[in-house]
Amino acid sequence: MDDYIKMLEEDIRIKEGLTACINCGTCTAICPAANYYNYDPRIIVDTVQTRDNSKIYDLLTGDTIWYCGECMSCKTRCPRGNAPGLIIMALRNLSIRLGFFTSSEKGRQQLAIKRSIGHWILKYGYCLYREEMTLEDHPEQGPSWEWQNRNLEDLLPLFGVQYKGDAGALRKISDDSLKELHAIFEVTGGLDFYDNIEKKSKEKADEMKLEFDERMNCEYMHEIYNKSSDHHYKS
C-alpha cells in the first residue's frame, strides 16, 4: 500500500491544521455539516492521527471527506488549535490527485464544479458568472432573477454599472489579465489538475456505462449534479 500519510504531510495544511487531537468533539458540536450529514469531523482528525494508511485510503475513496462546507467554524473552537477543515482540504486534494475522488458519489461531483466554477475562472476571470446561472439550475434565485437578467442593460446604469465595460463592477476582465491568469494556472499545475479531474471522470463514466462528453448535461454530469443518495443523511 502507498504511504498516504507521507503524501498528506507534504501538504502545508496538515502542518497548519493538525497538532494533537484530544478527541473532545468540540469541532463536531459546532460543525454545520455534522448537523446535516452523517458526519463527524472528530473522527476524520482522529483517523489521520492514527497514521494508518488503510484507514486513510478509506477516507480518500469515500464520501465522508466531501461533507464539510469549509466554513472553518471548527478552527475557532478547537482547544488544541487544530483545523479539521484544513485537514479535509488536504485529504480532498490528495484524493483528486490520486484519482480516488471518483470512487464516491460526493467525490464525483468535482467534475461539475470544475466545469462551472473552474471553467468560469479561466473564461471570464470571475468565480461566479450571472449569465451562466440559469433559473432551472438555481430556482432559489426566484422569479425576479429572470426579470433582472432580461433587463440588465436597463437596470445596471441605475447603479452606475456599465455591464461588460472597461472598469467597475461587472466589467469585462481584459484579455491581458485572462492570459496572465491562464499562465499562472499553467505554471502552478492548475491546468493539469483540471485535466486530471476530466480524465478520471471519463474513466469512471465508462465504468458506470454513462454517456460522457463535454456538455454540461451529458448523462454523467446530470447524474453527479443531481443525485444524492439517502445514506448521506441522518435518519
Partner: protein, 356 residues
C-alpha cells in the same frame, strides 16, 4: 472589573485599519448578484468619506471559491493572490481593501502561511515571475471594506439623514448582524472583536442607532458551504443552515439582517424565498420576509441614497417594511423601472412571500 481593565482587554480584539489610500479588490459574488452594493461602497468611500480608493480593472477573481470547492490548488491561488499584490504595488498603493469575505479569508490565510512558512512565499514569487514576469510587495495593511466602514462609523452616523430608529415610536430598530465565517473564524486576531466578540457590524449598526439582537444561532454559518451550494444535489445543506438561523432569530422579531459577506447576503435572502415556496413559511410581518442588506446598502440608505439606485430591487425580500420604519421616503412606482424611467415590466410575484 475596573473600566481600565476592560479597555485593556478590548484592545486585544482591535485591528489596525488604514486611514486612507486603498487598493480595492472586488468580489465575484457581490458584483454578480448585488452589483449596486459594490458600486455604492466605492462611492461612499470616495464621495461621502473623501477617501482615495484605486478601483483597478486589472485584477481578477482571487479564485477563492475555486479553492474552497477544491478545484484550485494552494500553489495556484497563492500565485493569483501574488498577482493582485503586484498590481497594487505597481499602482503605488500599500493598503489592500477587499470586498469579499471569502477573499479576505484567502488573503489572510496566505499572508499567515507565507509568514510561518517563508519557503512558500519564495516559491510563489518564482511561479509569478515565470508566469507573468511580475514582482510584488506584501501589503502594509489588509482590511475588509466593512472594517473601513466600522472605522469611520461615527463620521457615517454624523452624515446620516436616517437612523436605525423607528421614526414613529423613537425606539431603536432590532438588528441581526451576520458576519461571514471567513472574516474571523480562521484568524480571530484579524477581525474587529475577534471570533468571540465580533463587533465590526454591531459597531456600525449601533453607531447608526440600532439595537443588536443576540440570538442562539448568531454565529452559525449561513450555509454557503461552497460545494454544498454549487452542486444542486447538496443544496439541502445550505438551505437547512439558513433555516436554523432564521428560526432562531424569528422570536426576537428583528427589523433587518445586516451582513458583510456577499455570499451570506445571497443565502439569507434567497433561502427566505425558497423556504416560503417549499413550506409556506415566512419570517417577517404580514407574509413578508426579514430584509437582508449588506453593510454598504444599509449605510447608503442611512446616508439618503435612493433604494432603487443602490439595487435593493434585486433582493428577493423587499426592503419596504424597513424603509417605512426608518421614515425613508421612496417612490414604490419606480421600483421596477429601468434607467431613464423606462418601463421594463415587473417580475412575477412569488407564490407565498409577499413582495411589493
Amino acid at each position: 472589573m475596573k473600566i481600565e481593565g476592560k479597555k485593556r482587554l478590548w484592545r486585544e480584539y482591535q485591528k489596525e485599519i488604514a486611514e486612507d489610500h486603498y487598493y480595492f479588490a472586488r468580489s465575484c459574488v457581490r458584483q454578480q448578484i448585488f452589483p449596486g452594493a459594490e458600486q455604492i461602497c466605492v462611492k461612499i468611500l470616495q464621495h461621502d468619506l473623501g477617501r482615495d480608493v484605486f478601483d483597478d480593472p486589472g485584477h481578477t477573481t482571487c479564485t477563492g471559491i475555486g479553492y474552497h470547492t477544491d478545484v484550485v490548488q494552494l500553489e495556484t491561488i497563492m500565485t493569483v493572490v501574488a498577482r493582485q499584490f503586484s498590481l497594487m504595488t505597481n499602482a503605488g498603493y500599500e493598503n489592500f481593501a477587499v470586498s469579499c469575505i471569502t477573499s479576505f479569508g484567502i488573503y489572510t490565510e496566505i499572508l499567515e502561511t507565507w509568514h510561518h512558512f517563508p519557503e512558500t512565499e519564495e516559491k510563489t514569487r518564482e511561479y509569478l515571475r515565470k508566469a507573468t514576469g511580475r514582482e510584488f510587495k506584501i501589503p502594509v495593511n489588509l482590511a475588509h471594506t466593512s472594517d473601513i466602514f466600522y472605522k469611520f462609523r461615527h463620521e457615517i452616523a454624523q452624515k446620516s439623514r436616517y437612523k436605525l430608529i423607528n421614526h414613529n415610536t423613537g425606539e431603536p430598530l432590532r438588528v441581526v448582524e451576520h458576519i461571514g465565517c471567513h472574516y474571523a473564524k480562521m484568524f480571530p486576531h484579524k477581525g474587529v472583536g475577534g471570533a468571540e466578540y465580533p463587533y465590526v457590524l454591531a459597531g456600525l449598526a449601533e453607531a447608526l442607532g440600532g439595537e443588536i439582537v443576540d440570538y442562539p444561532e448568531r454565529r452559525h454559518c449561513c450555509g454557503f458551504g461552497f460545494r454544498q451550494y454549487v452542486v444542486k444535489a447538496n443544496r439541502g445543506y445550505s438551505i437547512s443552515a439558513s433555516k436554523i438561523k432564521l428560526e432562531s432569530m424569528k422570536p426576537y422579531k428583528p427589523d433587518l439582517i445586516v451582513t458583510n459577506c456577499p455570499g451570506c447576503t445571497v443565502f439569507l435572502d434567497r433561502w427566505q424565498y425558497a423556504i416560503s415556496e417549499m413550506e409556506g413559511k415566512t419570517y417577517g410581518d404580514n407574509g413578508q420576509g426579514i430584509p437582508v442588506l449588506t453593510f454598504e446598502e444599509l449605510t447608503a440608505v442611512c446616508l439618503g441614497y435612493s433604494p432603487w439606485e443602490i439595487g435593493l430591487q434585486m433582493h428577493n425580500v423587499g426592503p419596504e417594511p424597513l424603509l417605512r420604519k426608518m421614515g425613508v421616503p421612496f417612490d414604490p412606482s419606480r421600483k421596477y423601472l429601468g434607467a431613464g424611467g423606462k418601463n421594463i415590466g415587473i417580475p412575477e410575484k412569488p407564490k407565498v412571500l409577499v413582495v411589493e
